[in-house]
């Protein structure tokens, strides 16, 4: 062996062994520790060696290998995204949209040539992955369909309630079409929610930007984050107001859990969760902060729980309406 292979410093090989995470005997470790503790210079030498070791690992690594790991990471994130969706939705690139559409105005969609894939739910929720990797959470009593050539046009048709987490695709908009309105976005996260017992189409955007069109009209509007757009198909009127958009997305979680949210926001959550309408006749309680967690409890139980926290009574109204007093 050429002499240059002998270590320049007798402790280098110990330090090296340690940094490389090689098997070291207790004796060797002890030697290294003692040497380091001998002087501040030795400690600094060790630290500088550690720095060199780290820097050489970073500088000389094969970036392509790490890129493969990054891709794995992205895939895993996508799989886990449903649990993190609410947090994601508050991010700067995410948008949340909510639609409420009357059943009365629903007309069955014409099938697009080439075959259509349709998903429907009764009283359950469903998770669907679209051909482009975008994810959809379909709430109860909802239906979504897309054609076989989805990847070309990225169009889905919806009645009911759904949350979309849309993957960006270069230059390809993603379109959600409902009987009353049309929503267009680039890659983003947005919620579409279709309730059967409402006369109103609603869109709520949490962040990002989307464009809304009302079918059979020239109406065209870009809405801003935390704005609620309402279109009343009966009298043709529309409203734009500021809301807390995250109140409209909680239903996709496995449970509802809140710390100090005002009753008026809780009401929206409960409406989505139980697929009901809630009318509150006591405006004094609307701003009261409540903390509550709801899992599988039936509505009755939740209302009872709520009545223990805040002064209220309730009765059933027509259809699926609950009246709070």
């Amino acid at each position: 062996m050429p002499s240059e292979l002998s270590s320049p410093n007798e402790h280098d090989s110990l330090i090296f062994k340690y940094l490389e995470d090689e098997v070291m005997s207790v004796q060797e470790k002890k030697l290294l520790k003692e040497w380091i503790l001998e002087s501040k210079d030795n400690e600094n030498y060790f630290r500088n060696f550690a720095f060199t070791w780290e820097a050489s690992n970073i500088v000389l690594q094969d970036e392509n290998k790490v890129k493969v790991k990054l891709e794995e990471f992205d895939k895993k994130q996508r799989r886990h995204r449903n649990h993190k969706l609410i947090r994601l939705a508050t991010g700067s690139v995410a948008a949340v949209i909510l639609l409420l559409i009357t059943l009365q105005l629903f007309t069955p969609y014409q099938l697009i040539g080439g075959g259509v894939q349709t998903f429907t739910t009764d009283n359950n929720k469903k998770e669907i992955v679209l051909p482009d990797g975008s994810q959809v959470w379909l709430n109860a009593q909802s239906s979504i369909s897309y054609s076989k050539n989805f990847n070309k046009s990225r169009k889905v048709k919806l009645t009911g309630e759904a949350l979309f987490d849309v993957v960006k695709s270069e230059g390809k908009n993603f379109t959600v079409e409902t009987p009353k309105i049309l929503i267009e976005v680039l890659g983003t996260t947005f919620l579409v929610n279709d309730r059967v017992d409402s006369d109103i189409a609603q869109t709520v955007l949490e962040s990002g930007a989307v464009n809304i069109k009302i079918n059979d009209s020239d109406f065209n509007l870009n809405i801003k984050p935390n704005e609620l757009f309402e279109f009343n198909s009966v009298d043709g009127s529309s409203i734009l107001e500021t809301v807390n958009a995250s109140s409209y997305t909680g239903w996709i979680e496995d449970n509802l859990s809140f710390a100090n949210i005002p009753v008026n926001e809780l009401i929206i959550h409960l409406e989505k969760w139980y697929n009901i309408d809630i009318v509150c006749n006591n405006s004094e309680i609307l701003d009261t902060p409540v903390s509550i967690t709801i899992d599988e409890e039936p509505l009755e139980e939740t209302l009872f729980l709520l009545s223990q926290i805040i002064p209220l009574t309730w009765s059933e109204g027509s259809g699926k309406t609950i009246i709070l007093n």
């Binding site: 292979l5 410093n9 090296f16 500088n48 720095f51 993190k84």
Partner: protein
């Protein structure tokens, strides 16, 4: 923190963090899982991360904590007790987290210059280790040399680099 920032951070620190985690948990695939979780945390918290401050101490800290959590949860309960008080580990940890973002762009040129000047065989072994991520045993098999020789080559390369960097003023 933008997606681009995130990618740069990921590509820079993935490997060293993985090695760091592996040193604690002694399990390659567990270490990989831990690091993916660390980056999932980083991505989830990206709104709160201030990039004007170094993200590196944060990453090592989370890796350190998650690795210890893994040990606590794993069935092999013998390891963590001795681990936590280890002087060398502590020193390594504080070294990696203490100095603020020393730009690796500057260091890169110095390291590449120095590696070029290494003896041919030494350079080959060192790059197989660092660039191709081969274990010493794999390098030994590939080049038909002993593991001891591989270790010596890498040790020499690191010593040379260490001297070179210190001479150029890169010291802690």
């Amino acid at each position: 923190m933008s997606r681009d920032d995130f990618e740069i951070i990921y590509l820079t620190y993935y490997n060293v963090l993985r090695i760091f985690a592996c040193r604690i948990v002694s399990d390659d695939s567990a270490a990989e899982d831990i690091i993916q979780d660390v980056f999932a945390d980083l991505w989830a918290n990206r709104k709160n991360i201030d990039l004007s401050e170094s993200v590196k101490p944060y990453l090592y800290k989370v890796t350190h904590n998650r690795s210890l959590d893994f040990l606590k949860l794993s069935e092999n309960k013998n390891i963590p007790i001795s681990y936590q008080t280890d002087l060398l580990e502590d020193m390594l940890y504080t070294t990696f987290t203490a100095h603020e973002e020393l730009s690796f762009d500057d260091v890169e040129k110095e390291i590449l210059d120095c590696v070029k000047q290494l003896p041919e065989r030494c350079k080959e072994v060192f790059l197989l280790s660092r660039h191709d991520n081969l274990k010493n045993r794999e390098i030994a098999e590939k080049l038909e040399i002993s593991i001891k020789t591989v270790e010596k080559h890498i040790s020499l390369a690191l010593s040379s680099l260490n001297k070179h960097l210190q001479n150029r003023g890169y010291r802690l």
